[in-house]
Symmetry: C2
Subunit: 640 residues, 2 copies
């Protein structure tokens, strides 16, 4: 491993762009692959990032840039976090020290970063749809370039990828799909489409046909035949076996030509396979088999652990994962503890078992744990079916991914008022950037009838909210928490039913009232000394329920015109918690038109997409750090 | 056809519930099918409703209730509008006179209506997910019943159906899927999954294997062989052909046992096929082939026309479709007219070509028209790919179905600020009920950065909005219109670029200002005489842009404390247009804290799901009829 520390990137150093790559011989390409692998390990060990998937895709990336001409040809990386090698080969190698830092190199692809990035990609399963759209545009405009979607077997489980393949087979446009089959999506136990397809024992047709051909061979054993006939029979049998041991037949039935599987770590084989399909005009899928973490032993052995990692020391096997308790940990622990007393509780994750911490629940209760692959829509509607028949399903889902299941939440869960509990992880700002910001959930969840929408101030309250939702079972219940170290993450107390509809005053003061939602309670408390230093004595309220609102508390504050009210939320201002308070105040004015009201000012995420960078930086830039909040409140307080 | 007018429903009259069905012989079942078909035609001809799909599913429904035991066994109808026969057999025959009327029989299924309705279903492609969830619940609770999902070939194109099938194949629960293959989804030209699968010429494997077996046969012609060998060779060939002419192999690769195809109009064959699979514990798909409109010649010939129909006279071939111009018509006409001058405009629909009127665009510009099947996610992301590469895609989509593509709208369209135009049809209340109400779009669209969100007051403005969006190409642009007769639907004027960001005063008055969004402009104008009769002289504003707001107009009104403001919108109050005005006013108060403001009151859809019934009734019940609006405004105006 010692050579890893001093990469001798002689070939890589000469690669300023894809054109330089094309001058290399195949043996040089292979040597370059080794260099790149070392470089990826070095870079990610310093900054953290996605490791295993990028080690797995080295040769595929080299092959694509060797055979095709980016940016003329459009390479679409499904889930942009597998594009580090692509970035290195397209002039961004020097910027890797700034990977995922604010204003630094993005961890995903983005056309604003490079002309070689054909689109944006943070969420999975979009590349084939984009490719179909681009191919139609190309054909319509009479242009000439290749459109290539690079899709993992995990991404292929997402419904929209299957929609796109179905459509592509129908319209027969010139699109090349590279299936990067590493037999594993983010989590290990969900199985990708290709894995399902390998279960030959359930392929009744294949076993039938094989048996019959075997019988023919036996019957013909004594018969004197032309060797060509025996050869033909062998060919039929071989071909049946080959086709059925790959997902080929399924794609061909859908109208997509299939070739493969090819060893995706044999760069010469990859180049050869790409050259063979390069000039085909019908839709084509090329099946390449790779290994996540390839070339770095610890990542090969545990690709899940090395999927996304913080900085680490390559010589040490363990990544330096910080040992702090996050809200995800607290949520999972709550589920594990409640499952012990509530046998009907089951947990569902759409391929985020690792990120959400739910993998621990799966180990504790394997029969009550359902990782459904990258299928947010199915996850939510399946939960509705479970709830209808008497289970208590808890769907753990990131805020940004719940956007994929909004219709299912309305149509399948909320109309029938079914008791499905949502643990909405990564609510608020995250370091990944525009594609992953969980800032819209408060606004869209609040508009759905029957739904309860809450956010805890700390880990203890999170536990009690989950417990209360499970015990009440009154209807859909959404609990939101940020991707962060949990306040009171190490504290424990027996579960208590929480009167979550009643807001909690965490600091009693005068003149100005901070109505803080979820993560903003702790931030408001951090701002308190700054406010006190400015001579203010604010009331801080843990406004833990956004829907329903605490009307008693609101009446006390809003109907007192001597007060000023500031709402604080880690979500978009448009339609969010602050808007809910404004709507309530406007409604109240109808029944008491003469009464004066306290003015309400709202702080939250403004109307723009938020870039990548450390969470603390992003919060500050959006006016949601303790300091910025204090400045805002002081300004409000001093208004005449 | 004369017998149709006097149905002799002797068998049907004796069916109070599924138990009565089981006493019939197979010939009686067949006779009952004829009676039911006549009854369906009679009922739908009187009230309007879904005709073709219900005529197609008569025998399947009879078979299911004959073989299985509802409500103990759970039958899940994917898209509930195919459940009329099911309703007739489960004690709701007498209520068909009230079909789709307010407080009458729902056009969809609903457990609140009958214990035989296992779930709610208005949107497509949900049944398999629900079935998986219910099967898991059943197994977890140690219960014993069958879960059956009845899915059309159209519903199978939806991504979430494919997600669920994939998952079911993985977890191997006892679920029976009935594939009702009528070779047609709502629109004719999209092709269902089964249709794609039938394109044998693209199935390279099958043609290869067939060719080779043919060669073997030719080679063996002169050879003396045991007849059993020839039989075996024939069996291999036959089986290959059979399997490849059905979607069977694809499902078996995914881990679902396949049987069929069976003639879905031969009730004895359906019963036999169901009995064969009844006791299988592995996941099973039974492929039944049916014809939409079966038994009613006009509907057989044009199932699209007879998909959903108003009342009609069975003896006449034409349904009495009213000849009024709807907003859908105006939108389609605008696209056709603009396409003539803008060659880069293309139109996309997710299987709603008929309902949206877009079928006419498809006839005018077949190469620029893309019906992608029931694939809202793919439709939107494909449009993003098209826009990125230089086309001007217009996505025609119902408000309620756009909920399925919210993530794609955020992640794939809006982050890159791509010029995709959305024609959001059926925005607001529709007669179909809870599952189809288009009331959430204003709220969720408004929270997405980069998006322009507008609604026209009439057909002329709709035309100009589409034209302006196409000419500007500045970013994502959402234009919302109701399912209704268009105001000024017959008027024509040359296209004009519209300053949509500036609101328009349609009635200049004093004291009270009505800010009306979209459909509410015409309603406010209708309310005007009522207001004038009460001595009021209101200003009515066509607040055509919800995002961005017209800040100049808002300043003029909100900063004048002598005024009172009422916002009017056909959408949910939570986070909607009214909330946008409240947010703007609160923001304005920060920069001018001393200034008094006009009070703002908001009218819109309250926080509950709205039932089915005539649009005018639903609007009135939700306070949005001219009379109710006048009452509200008069009350506000008289407030001290």
């Amino acid at each position: 491993m010692s050579t890893l520390l001093e990469p001798r990137a002689s070939l890589l150093e000469a690669i300023a762009g894809p054109a330089d790559l094309k001058r290399l011989s195949l043996p040089e390409l292979k040597a370059l692959a080794d260099e790149i692998r070392e470089e990826v390990i070095q870079c990610v060990s310093r900054t953290g990032g996605h490791l295993a998937s990028n080690l797995g895709i080295v040769e595929i990336t080299l092959g694509l840039h060797y055979v095709f001409d980016s940016p003329q040809d459009k390479i679409l990386w499904d889930v942009g976090h597998q594009a580090y090698v692509h970035k290195m080969l397209t002039g961004r190698r020097e910027q890797f020290a700034t990977l995922r830092q604010h204003k630094g190199l993005s961890g995903f692809i983005n056309p604003l970063e490079s002309e070689h990035d054909s689109f944006i990609a943070g969420h999975s399963s979009t590349a084939t749809s984009l490719a179909v759209g681009m191919a139609i545009a190309r054909d319509h405009l009479g242009e000439d370039y290749k459109v290539i979607a690079v899709v993992g077997d995990g991404g292929l489980t997402g419904g929209m990828a299957l929609e796109a393949i179905n459509h592509l087979g129908h319209i027969q446009r010139n699109v090349l799909i590279i299936l990067n089959d590493n037999e594993m999506s983010i989590s290990e136990n969900l199985g990708g489409l290709s894995q399902y397809m390998k279960r030959l024992k359930q392929t009744f047709f294949y076993s039938d046909i094989k048996k019959k051909i075997d019988e023919i061979e036996i019957e013909l054993e004594g018969v004197k035949l032309h060797p060509a006939i025996r050869e033909l029979i062998g060919a039929v049998k071989r071909q049946a076996k080959e086709r059925f041991e790959t997902p080929g037949i399924v794609f061909e039935k859908l109208g997509i030509n299939y070739s493969g599987p090819v060893d995706g770590h044999d760069v010469a084989a990859v180049v050869d396979a790409l050259q063979k399909v390069k000039d085909r005009s019908a839709p084509q899928i090329l099946h390449l088999v790779t290994q996540k973490g390839k070339g770095f032993a610890p990542a090969e052995q545990d690709a899940i652990k090395y999927h996304g990692v913080p900085a680490f020391t390559p010589e040490k096997v363990e990544p330096d994962r910080p040992k702090v308790k996050t809200y995800s940990d607290a949520f999972t622990q709550a589920l594990i503890d409640i499952a012990e007393v509530e046998p009907h509780l089951v947990a569902i994750t759409p391929a985020t078992a690792e990120g959400s911490g739910l993998v621990r629940f799966g180990k504790a209760y394997p029969d009550r744990f359902f990782d459904v692959a990258i299928c947010e829509q199915h996850a939510v509607t399946m939960a509705a079916g479970m709830a209808k028949q008497g289970l208590i399903p808890v769907v753990s889902i990131y805020s940004t991914f719940l956007q994929r299941a909004m219709d299912q939440l309305i149509h399948d869960v909320s109309i029938l008022n079914l008791p499905v509990i949502f643990g909405i992880d990564r609510g608020g700002l995250v370091e990944d950037g525009e594609t992953h910001q969980g800032v819209f959930d408060i606004a869209y969840l609040r508009s759905i009838p029957n739904l309860t929408v809450v956010a805890p101030k700390d880990a203890l309250e999170l536990r009690d909210m989950v417990y209360t939702a499970v015990m009440e079972r009154r209807g859909p219940f959404a609990i939101r928490f940020p991707r962060d170290k949990a306040v009171n993450g190490d504290a424990r107390h027996p579960f208590e039913k929480l009167d979550y509809k009643t807001w909690e005053t965490v600091n009693a003061g005068h003149d100005i009232v901070l109505l803080a939602y979820g993560s903003m309670v702790a931030t408001a408390i951090e701002a308190l000394p700054l406010l006190q230093a400015a001579g203010l004595d604010p009331t801080i309220v843990n406004a833990r329920s956004c829907k329903p609102l605490d009307e008693t508390a609101l009446s006390r504050f809003v109907l007192d015109p001597s007060l000023k009210i500031v709402t604080l939320e880690e979500g978009c201002l448009a339609g969010g918690f602050g808007a809910a308070v404004l709507e309530w105040a406007a409604q109240k004015r109808l029944s008491a038109p003469g009464a004066s009201q306290a003015p309400v000012a709202c702080l939250g995420i403004p109307d723009r997409f938020v870039e990548h960078g450390a969470r603390s930086i992003l919060l500050d830039l959006n006016g949601l750090s303790p300091g910025k909040i204090a400045d805002f409140v002081i300004k409000i307080a001093r208004h005449s």
